[in-house]
């Protein structure tokens, strides 16, 4: 018996379907060609510098290789940012478009399992892309400067970023029916998210500072209020996360260029409430990754709720159903009778007009061939009276005609 590693049916199915498409291979190829082309000049310059060493004039630096590595990381970040929405924002809506969602929803899988399967199958592509880039990234090991552990850490951060961005794609594709709309919404939203995190934190800090200054200068109240906490809005910005983590791990050639450094060592008096030792600043990357993954989780839960076909359980039958006027009287008046007198059988030789009364609480319609005489709910009787009177009037007119016709014939 074959062993089944992946238990999630949707995940298995989507991975199988994806692997059948040439799309993945093409994207991977283009991605790696791009990475290779970008890394070559760095490698070349290092080689040239190394060559220069033989003339005694070399300035060989690990920094060149680290810079190459940083450029590759940022390239991957940008690729993630542009590819993730495209690869995830259709994952649920395409099932809706193909009309396979209904069938999936009737299976034993819960909506949460379906969403998880969809989510992981689509980020799997991006993760595979990242892994496929590892050989090019490993060029850095030729001369050193980056350790395997550092490479691994960066990969983790990139994967976390993917997971965060992908959750928006899944969410929007669960929200709307159309894949294109979902993709557009995801891009717009992520664009807004990236800029809004900056503007919110800057705006918040500025506003609070204004309030403090106003209080101090206008009202002579010296307070300690500040908006420094708004800086943490940037936790939601994956670009900042990657910037901080790369700066923490490799540095950008200047120790000020981590978030912690920029906040606490920058201009005096801006973030005076925060010190270098602030744990949230020191662990910026870790905290922001945790927050982002938490948001991703909540978004996925929300998506699972969105695709749930039956969100609230229906009321048990009640008489005072708003607006359902037509026959609400019928079941109420005869509630006890109705439950038993459902149209289980048609009395064998009933007239055709009678079956209309079958749903009514008079199973013995056979005995009363004329519908009007049955003690029926008012509405139904009214409806029927209309029909019968119409029928009668219909009948009476041609009757005379035929009568006279018959007379003429005779």
């Amino acid at each position: 018996m074959k062993k089944t590693i992946i238990k999630n049916a949707v995940l298995r199915k989507d991975m199988l379907l994806d692997m059948k498409k040439p799309k993945v291979a093409v994207i991977m190829l283009l991605f790696n060609v791009l990475l290779g082309l970008v890394s070559l000049p760095f490698l070349g310059s290092t080689l040239l510098l190394a060559e220069g060493y033989s003339y005694g004039a070399a300035d060989l630096s690990y920094r060149t290789m680290i810079n190459m590595f940083l450029v590759l990381v940022w390239l991957e970040t940008i690729a993630i940012f542009f590819l993730t929405p495209a690869l995830t924002a259709g994952c649920v809506s395409i099932e809706k478009e193909r009309q396979t969602m209904d069938v999936l929803l009737t299976t034993r899988m819960s909506t949460w399992q379906i969403i998880l399967g969809k989510y992981f199958s689509s980020i799997m592509l991006v993760i595979m892309l990242l892994i496929s880039g590892l050989p090019v990234m490993s060029l850095v090991f030729i001369y050193g400067g980056v350790s395997l552990w550092q490479l691994f850490l960066i990969l983790l951060v990139l994967i976390a970023t993917t997971m965060f961005l992908a959750s928006f794609g899944v969410f929007f594709s669960a929200l709307v029916k159309n894949t294109i709309v979902s993709v557009i919404l995801t891009y717009i939203f992520l664009g807004v998210l990236l800029s809004a995190t900056f503007s919110v934190s800057l705006f918040g800090i500025g506003i609070m500072e204004n309030i403090r200054d106003t209080l101090e200068w206008e009202y002579n109240i010296t307070t300690n209020i500040n908006g420094d906490g708004f800086i943490f809005a940037l936790w939601l910005n994956p670009f900042v996360t990657i910037f901080d983590s790369t700066a923490q791990i490799f540095g950008y050639g200047d120790e000020y260029l981590t978030i912690n450094g920029m906040v606490t060592l920058g201009e005096e008096g801006v973030f005076y409430s925060m010190t270098e030792k602030n744990i949230f600043l020191n662990l910026w990357s870790l905290c922001s990754v945790i927050v982002q993954l938490l948001i991703a989780f909540l978004l996925l839960r929300w998506s699972a709720h969105l695709i749930k076909p039956v969100k609230r359980k229906p009321k048990k039958f009640k008489s005072n159903l708003n607006g359902v006027k037509r026959s609400n009287k019928a079941p109420v008046a005869n509630k006890e009778a109705t439950t038993e007198a459902m149209p289980r059988t048609v009395a064998a030789a009933e007239p055709v007009a009678a079956p209309v009364s079958l749903n009514k609480p008079e199973p013995v319609a056979k005995a009363v061939p004329k519908d009007e005489t049955v003690a029926e709910p008012i509405e139904a009787v009214m409806a029927k009276e209309e029909t019968t009177s119409e029928a009668v009037s219909d009948a009476s007119v041609p009757d005379k005609d035929t009568d006279s016709d018959a007379g003429n014939e005779q």
Binding site: T345, V346, A353, V356, N359, P369
Partner: protein
């Protein structure tokens, strides 16, 4: 097996299901007939848990579907009115996927799916691309898909629509076969005669309300009774007979063509006998007395047409 009680569904101002009641016994092959928009699909989607009901109860095997959908998914198989297939999947892979969605993996799933393909007579297409299958084959494959978890009750939404006579026949045979295995099958269509050929009982739904339900025999009888009585009398007795019939309360309409009278009459066989007896007792010169052959189509039209008249009150609000 299936019990629907006072099911209501509104879409905005439109009342799609209006006090829908239904009872289907275990092992029945139940046909759901109604014109387009009568509420067949809505009822089915509520039963399989894909749609919220406004109010009402649905029980399958005594369990309330609307209250615990998840538990019921094991017992329900559903074939919607569209195929919903994945491109670039083979028939076998397609079925295996749904098997895994019910927690069946590996060789077990493969054997099961091959058996199912055999059941729906698609064994030779196991490795064919799903997209290349004909409509009839796709429909059968979807049926196999709905059987993957061996459900107790099957809901098929217009399975025969768009199929050619041969495919229709094959589908019918498979359904009868399944029915004989003890599965309860609920199948919808807008063509009554089509269902009459295979179903054990039929319900006619009109504007969200079950207007007629019965076994096939009963439906046929109702169809027969829906058609007018044909009475032939001697020339000289036409006027008397006409006058007599006019006074009978169950008679809605009498038309005469020469000595042949066509009578629109509400009543069963016994009533007919009584009527004939009365006529003979009155010395009316009756030559012949019989019911015109009734067709299911005309019965359906009659029922649906009749309920259309007071439309100001029902349906659309």
């Amino acid at each position: 097996m299936l019990e629907i009680k006072h099911l209501y569904k509104r879409y905005g101002r439109f009342l799609a299901l209006n006090d829908m009641n239904l009872h289907v016994e275990q092992g029945e092959l139940f046909g759901f007939v109604g014109s387009n928009g009568a509420g067949k699909t809505t009822t089915m989607r509520i039963c399989v848990g894909l749609l919220e009901a406004t109010s009402g109860e649905v029980y399958i095997g005594g369990q309330d579907v609307l209250q615990s959908r998840k538990a019921m998914s094991e017992r329900i198989g559903y074939v919607p009115d569209f195929f919903g297939v994945y491109n670039s999947f083979s028939a076998l892979e397609y079925l295996e996927f749904f098997a895994s969605a019910y927690g069946i993996y590996g060789d077990e799933a493969k054997n099961l799916c091959l058996d199912l393909l055999k059941l729906v007579k698609l064994s030779d297409k196991a490795n064919a691309d799903v997209n290349g299958l004909s409509r009839g084959m796709k429909q059968r494959m979807c049926l196999a898909r709905a059987l993957v978890h061996n459900p107790d009750i099957l809901f098929l939404d217009e399975p025969a629509s768009g199929l050619d006579p041969k495919a229709r026949f094959e589908l019918k045979e498979i359904l009868k076969n399944l029915s004989s295995m003890g599965k309860t099958i609920v199948i919808s269509s807008h063509i009554l005669p089509e269902l009459a050929e295979m179903c054990t009982s039929v319900g006619i739904i009109d504007r969200g309300h079950m207007v007629l339900k019965g076994t096939i025999d009963e439906i046929h009888r109702a169809a027969a009774l829906s058609s007018p009585l044909l009475i032939t009398v001697a020339e000289e007795g036409v006027d008397d007979t006409f006058a007599f019939l006019q006074e009978i309360p169950n008679v809605h309409k009498v038309t005469a063509q020469g000595n042949r009278l066509s009578v629109v009459y509400d009543g069963n066989r016994e009533d007919e006998t009584a009527l004939l007896k009365q006529m003979v007792n009155r010395d009316l010169p009756v030559y012949s007395f019989n019911r015109q052959e009734g067709s299911l189509e005309s019965l359906f039209m009659q029922i649906v047409g009749k309920n259309k008249k007071p439309s100001g009150k029902g349906g659309q609000r």
